[in-house]
Each structure stands twice: as C-alpha cells, then as structure tokens.
C-alpha cells in the first residue's frame, strides 16, 4: 500500500487556512495585491490606500469568523464605497452604489485612486465620466396585471351536460 497517499495532510484544503495573527507585512502584501487588482499601480497610492483600509478595518465590529486579513480587505472595499457615497451623493441608495462601484472598476475613470486620496469636490470633471458610465440594468418598474386566461377544454361530460340543459330548457 502506498502510505504517501494515505498520509497526505487531510486538512490540506483548496483554500489555505486563515492566518489568525498575520504580520503587518503579510497584511499589507494582501492589501497591495487587492488594490493592484483594482487598477491601482502607483506604490505610494497603494500604501496610503492600504493605511486607510486598515483604519476602516479597526472600526469594524468584532466578528470571530472574520480573520484579520479578511477584515482588512473589507476595510479596503469600505474606503472605496465611502468615497463613492460622498462624491456622488449616494446615501441610502445601495443599488446605485453597486452600479457606481461597477462603473468605477470598469476603467472609465483611470485616475480614480488620486480622486479617492483627495477631498471630494476638488475636481468634479472626472466624476462626470463616472456618472455617465453608471448604467441601470432595467428601467423603473411599472407593474401591470396579466390575468390568466380561461381555456375551457372539450370534454364529453361537458357536452352531455350542455345537451341535457338544452333538452331541459326546451
């Protein structure tokens, strides 16, 4: 029997186990990859955005099932969302926020990291491109009724009943 096949580490799963006490290098490394996947290429911007993400992460309520790395990544998303909400006035509009995030990441506003790092209102021009790119998937709902039609199928019994009624009537 090939022992090597039996003795393989049973806990070796597709996603590696969570790191419960990550070093700051590890944490920043994951954040860096995440920001890069969103199109942030400038190392300085990556550092500043990561710091903001960590600040956000510290403010998040404690949840035992969320490990520190995940918390930091949630913080990164929150940095982006906060900026979108403030810049585009999207308070109380989760649907539009999602559409705005999708539009931003589609690449219509290549300099967005700069915008996030500056206070809102400094240069409104790039935001117009973002507003234009926010496309709603469907128009507003106008509910209409579509009543189910009655189709009276032919049945011999029905035919006899009809005949009987006619006979009785005459």
């Amino acid at each position: 029997m090939d022992r090597s096949k039996v003795d393989t580490n049973y806990s070796a799963t597709y996603l590696p186990p969570a790191v419960n006490q990550p070093s700051s290098e590890f944490l920043l490394g994951r954040l860096k990859s995440y920001w890069q996947s969103m199109g942030v290429t400038d190392p300085m911007q990556v550092v500043v955005l990561s710091k903001r993400a960590l600040q956000h992460a510290y403010r998040l309520p404690e949840q035992p099932e969320i490990d520190p790395v995940a918390r930091a990544l949630i913080g990164a998303s929150a940095v982006l969302d906060d900026w979108l909400i403030r810049s585009l006035n999207l308070q109380n509009n989760p649907g539009n926020l999602k559409a705005a995030r999708a539009a931003l990441l589609s690449g219509v506003m290549p300099g967005w990291p700069n915008m996030v790092l500056y206070p809102p209102g400094t240069d409104e021009h790039p935001l117009d491109a973002l507003r234009l790119a926010i496309a709603k998937p469907t128009p507003e709902l106008i509910p209409r009724a579509m009543p189910t039609q009655q189709i009276r199928l032919f049945s011999l019994f029905g035919l006899f009943r009809l005949l009987w009624r006619k006979i009785c009537h005459t």
Partner: protein, 692 residues
C-alpha cells in the same frame, strides 16, 4: 360598428377562404374517388378501407400546402396581394420621416445561448436601426433565463460592453430571472408585467434572429396605423449557415418560402398565426388576453403550454384582435440547425408542444381558423406516423394482392374472364400525389424567370434549376429519415418517455461518425430489413419503394456528408444553393459578421478565463458588476443559509470544480455569499490563483 367598407372586406375575406377550402375539398374528392374506383372491384376490404382513410387524411394535408403554394405563385406573379397588411395600410401612412414612432421594446429572450452570437446580433440590429435614424424609438431588452453560471456572467459582461460601446445607457437593458418558471412564456410575462407599461409595442426575437432596422420601423408604422391589429408576424428567412445541409434548407426556404407565405396570407388574412419570434405585438392586448393557464393533468398533454405562440395568437383572435402574416416584409432572418440531427432535435422540442394542441382543438371560444392552426401544428408531426402506417398498409395490401390466385374461368362462363386493370387510375393517383408534392418547386423556379435580378441572385437559371433538382433529391432522401424520427418522437411523447437528447447546438459543426451511427443506425437497419423482405416477398412493390429505402439505408453517410462545412463551401463556389443573402449580403448581416470579429471594448472580455464563475469570485470588477445586476431580494431563510454555508465550505475544501453548475449559480445569485467568497479568495488565495 362595422362600416360598409369593412363589411365588404370581411365578405372578401370569407370568399377567399371559401375558394381555398373548396379547392382542397374538390382535389381530395377527385383523388380519393380515383383510388376508390381502383379498389372497388370486389368490394372494399378492411385493409383497403384503412388505406383509403389514411390517403384521404394525408392527401388533404398535402393539398393545403399545394394550394397555398399555387395561390402564392399567382399572387407573386401578378405583383402582390391587395389585402396584405403592408399594402393595405401603405396608403394611409404619412411620410415616413415625419412620423414620431412610439417607443418599442426589442426583446431577446435567451436561455444558455452562445452569448457572443446573441450580442453580436443585437448590435447588428442596433446599427441597422441607427442607419434608419429612428434608433431613439427603440429600447433593447436582453431577457435572460440562463442557468449556467459561466454563461450568465459572460452575458453580463457583454451587456456592459454593448452599453459602453454603443452609448446604450438607458436604451439597452439586461436582467436575469432568479427563477425561470414557465420558460419563455414566463420570461415574456415577467417583462410585460414589470416594464411593459413603458412601451406600446414589443418585437420578440429569438437568440438567432436578425432583423433589418427598416423592417422594424415599418412594422411599428403598420401597427400604429391600424389599431385593430395586435400582432404582425414576419416570415424569417434562413441565412448565415455554411454546412451543406443548412445551405440546402436555406435555399429551399428562400426560393419556395415566399410562395408559401404569400399563399398562407391569401386565406389567413387577419386570422393568421404567431411563430414565436420575429413578430411585433401590441403590449396591452397581450397583457389583457395572453396570460396562459396551465392545462389540467400531467405532461405530455397537461401542465404548462409549451408551444405558447399558437395559443397566444388564438387568444388574441378570441378577444377580437387581428393577427397578420406580413409575407411581403423582407429583412427578417433566422439561423437554422446546421445538421440533420440538430434539425431532428429541434423537432423533438417542438413536437411535444404541438401535440399538446390536440386538447385545444375543441376548446370553447376559439376562432375556426385558430383551430385550423392548432390542427396544422398537430398534423405537422402526426403526418409522419400516418405516412409510415400508409406505407406499411400499402406493402401489406400489395402482399395480399400477390397471394391471390387469379381465376379466369368461373361459373357458367366458357370464355375466360380477364381481370379488370386499374393501372390508369392507380397511375393517375400516383401522379396527382407526386404533382402535389413537387409542382410547387417547379412553380418557384418559374417565378424566378419573372424577376431577372432575383434570378441572378440565385446564381442564374442553370444554377437555380440544378439546385432545385438537387434539393429535390436531397429532400426525397431525408424525408423517410425525418418520418422515422418524428414517428419516434410522437410515440415517445404518447408513452410519456423522454427521448433524452442533449441541448441543441446552434453553430456550424460536423456530425461525427459515432453520432451518426447512434442517431441513424436504427434507420439503416429498418431500411435494409424492409428492402430484403419486400424484394423477397413483394418484388413489384420493392421498386416503388426504392426512394424510401435509399433514404433509410444511406441515412448515415447522408447525415455526415450533409453536415460538412467544406461541402457547403464547395457547393457555394459551384453556384449551388445560392440565396440572395449570400449573393449580396444585406447590411444587417454584414454588421453581424463584423461584430463577431470585432474585439470587445471591455478588456476583460478579450481574456478567456479558466471560468467566468471563478472570475466573478476573484476579479473585483466582474464581482462588482455581477453584484450590481443582482435583483434586490430578502435575505435567505435559515435553511437556505445553511445550504449556502455548506456550499462555501465545500468550495473552501474541494475547490470550484467540486460544485455543480446549479450550486455555483446558487452561490453567485446570493449577494452575501458572493461578497464572502470574494473576501475569502483574497484573504486566503488558493495555490492556483495565478492560473485562474
């Protein structure tokens, strides 16, 4: 109240129908009379009675096609039909440019289709509409019922790409239904009840439909100028395929199709039918009258109405609305199955729906012509087992005749009594039947002589005539195969058995030897056995039977060869089976070709990822886009949450390949699970993340 003019029109409608059905009745009576006189030598046997009954049904069935084509021939020969929907209202239409069109929705209901082709087609229609200058009057809806998670995400990206590249914000819409209840009917109902209020008309397309912008505009104008019409169907012309099989069918559809549709319009007029796509529908009457019920009982005859189009047209007619076939509106296209096997697979899907109409034939309240449409739908499949039965009965009768010994001297007769020959009657019956089947092909060829430009677009007289001859040979060879396929489908449905074929492949592809043997092995064996038995026991019958036997015995090579794209291309180079759309490509078809080659605007679409599902979990943009397109919904219940947690755990442990397509769909349909997985992938990236 009907005006006197309207009254006259109605009289003319009824007169046309009377003439048409009288022609069918008279022809059938003559043919059946000839057969009776041939049979009636010593009284009718049981077998002869069966043969007569079958012949009457089948002959009247082919009579409908024949007379439709015959009438259509004269309509096209002398110009066009005075009562056609497009001509009838052409005079009332003001200058096209000045008309402000009401906003119309172009609907593309899709289900796990080749999304690249779907969006390329929509973009071609969009561009064609831009050419007309009326694009602002049209909105596009991609109504997705797609269940495959990879295809779903691909559709979303292509939608976004279309919006971005065509400046389609607020004009091009997309939604994926959380539950695809009631299939296409439910899909359209969902559109009508949610967004139908924005529009007066909707134009329903199929995944492989294409329509010229000018045709779409004209359809809206015609409906706009006639408030009594609820639906206009255009005849879709088959195009764009390259396999030999599809090119032959395209040619047949192009050259004969216009004659048949002109003939159908002659007698159907405002009581026409709906074919499910390439049609414009007035939304309000559709909402009011086309909510389809479930039929009582179980499948195949109960449950959801499968072939909804016929029923919707019948319901509109029942409510007093007119339904027209605009036979003379060009610019309406569709793509057909590329191989004989795919063609049969499509038939399998349609067969069950059409047989279900048997129950509606006698339902109360439907117009007589709606009943006839139901009957014709049923007959298009029932005819096959009836033809088979007819052939078997003919063989049996021939065998019985052969076994009878002729007696020349009986009773007091001292002179021999020669048997009376009915060869003339039998030959006449045969010739009449063959004429009914093949004369329309000749008429179609004659019609080409009238229009030199059209004749050239079919490659000239020699090419067109050769193509008609070859197409006839091909249809003779494939008819028995389709007869056996359809008989099998009808029997399977009646016995509540699923035939179990996978989903239809729309794109050109060649039939493999294995696939052909699996599909046609039975046909070949049946052909060989029947051939041997008939040769041994009824040799006279054998020779009459050879066309049918040849079709069955050669079914495997015919199926493989006809699926060949190379042979299709060679036939095109030889000028065979040419259609006008190949000779001079209409702009909308050209746009489609360009769109299929053009690189998308979204860079992510240029990548071919390992899986769009995994990309949705990892890529922040794809993830954000998908989240933004998910409909608002209540948080899942406790049990469903446990189920989703279980799937996430499974993915964590065993990777995405361990999940089924429906499990993947469940995960990415839930916003919370999707966010959780996105964070999971980035906080604990798998070893193979670089390759994903």
């Amino acid at each position: 109240m009907a005006t006197p003019v309207r009254h006259l029109v109605l009289i003319e409608h009824n007169l046309r129908r009377m003439i048409f059905f009288s022609l069918i009745a008279i022809t059938t009576i003559i043919a059946v009379g000839l057969l009776v006189s041939a049979f009636h030598t010593d009284g009718l046997s049981h077998m002869e009675l069966v043969l007569l009954l079958l012949y009457t049904i089948l002959f009247s069935w082919i009579c409908i096609s024949f007379w439709s084509a015959f009438v259509g021939f004269f309509i096209i020969l002398f110009g066009s039909d005075r009562l056609s929907i497009s001509r009838q209202f052409a005079e009332t239409l003001p200058n096209n440019e000045a008309i402000l069109l009401p906003c119309t929705a172009i609907l593309m209901p899709i289900y796990n289709e080749n999304s690249g082709r779907v969006f390329a087609g929509l973009r071609a229609i969009h561009r064609s509409l831009v050419d007309t200058g009326k694009i602002d009057s049209f909105d596009f809806f991609i109504l997705s019922d797609t269940r495959d998670p990879d295809v779903w995400v691909e559709e979303e990206l292509l939608w976004r790409d279309m919006v971005q590249s065509l400046d389609g914000k607020g004009r091009v819409f997309y939604r994926n239904r959380p539950e695809n209840s009631s299939r296409k009917t439910g899909n359209l109902r969902d559109f009508c009840t949610n967004w139908g209020g924005h529009y007066r008309y909707m134009i329903v397309l199929d995944a492989d439909s294409l329509m010229k912008g000018a045709t779409l505009v004209k359809m809206v104008q015609i409906l706009e100028s006639n408030p009594g019409v609820a639906l206009i169907q255009t005849p879709p012309v088959p195009v764009n395929r390259e396999s030999l099989f599809a090119r032959i069918l395209q040619f047949a559809g192009g050259i004969y199709g216009r004659m048949f549709t002109a003939g159908l319009n002659y007698w159907q007029l405002g009581a026409s039918n709906y074919w499910g796509h390439n049609a414009i529908i007035r939304i309000q009457p559709f909402l009011d009258h086309c909510g389809l019920p479930q039929l009582p009982g179980n499948e195949p005859f109960g449950g959801e109405i499968l072939s909804h189009d016929f029923v919707e047209a019948a319901l509109l007619r029942r409510a007093g609305w007119e339904v027209w076939l605009a036979y003379d509106l060009d610019g309406s296209y569709e793509e057909i199955p590329p191989t004989l096997i795919d063609y049969a697979k499509r038939d399998r899907r349609w067969c069950q729906g059409n047989l279900q109409h048997l129950r509606l034939l006698m339902s109360r309240g439907f117009n007589i012509l709606s009943r006839l449409h139901f009957f014709m739908g049923v007959m298009s499949y029932i005819a096959s087992p009836l033809w088979l039965l007819f052939l078997v009965a003919t063989g049996a009768e021939a065998y019985l005749q052969k076994e009878q010994e002729l007696v020349y001297f009986f009773g007091e007769n001292w002179m021999p009594v020669w048997p009376v020959s009915f060869a003339v009657e039998m030959t006449t019956v045969l010739l009449v039947t063959l004429a009914m089947l093949f004369l329309p092909k000749l008429l179609a060829l004659l019609l080409l002589l009238k229009d030199r430009k059209l004749l050239q677009s079919y490659g000239g007289l020699v090419s067109a005539a050769s193509s008609v001859v070859l197409e006839t040979v091909f249809s003779v060879l494939t008819a028995p195969v389709l007869m056996l396929f359809q008989t099998k489908f009808v029997l399977a449905i009646l016995m509540h058995r699923a035939v179990g074929w996978p989903q239809q492949q729309r794109g050109d592809h060649m039939t493999s030897f294995k696939e052909a043997v699996l599909a046609h092995g039975g046909h070949t064996i049946i052909g060989l056995l029947t051939g041997i038995l008939s040769y041994l026991y009824i040799p006279a019958f054998f020779w009459w039977f050879t066309p049918v036997l040849a079709g069955l015995i050669l079914s495997i090579p015919v199926s493989i060869l006809s699926s060949s794209i190379n042979l299709g291309r060679v036939s095109r180079r030889l000028g065979l089976f040419l259609i006008p759309e190949e000779t001079k490509k209409p702009a909308v078809l050209h746009y489609l070709e360009v769109n299929l080659k053009e690189a998308p605007v979204l860079s992510i679409l240029r990548e071919k990822p390992y899986s769009r599902f995994v990309q949705t979990l990892i890529d922040p943009y794809v993830n954000a886009l998908h989240l933004s397109l998910l409909p608002e919904r209540e948080p899942p219940g406790r049990r469903h949450q446990h189920y989703l947690d279980g799937l996430i755990n499974q993915l964590e442990d065993d990777g995405p390949n361990s999940l089924s397509a429906s499990q993947k769909r469940d995960l990415i349909a839930d916003p919370a699970s999707l966010r959780r997985l996105h964070i999971l992938y980035w906080s604990r990236p798998p070893a193979d993340i670089g390759t994903l």
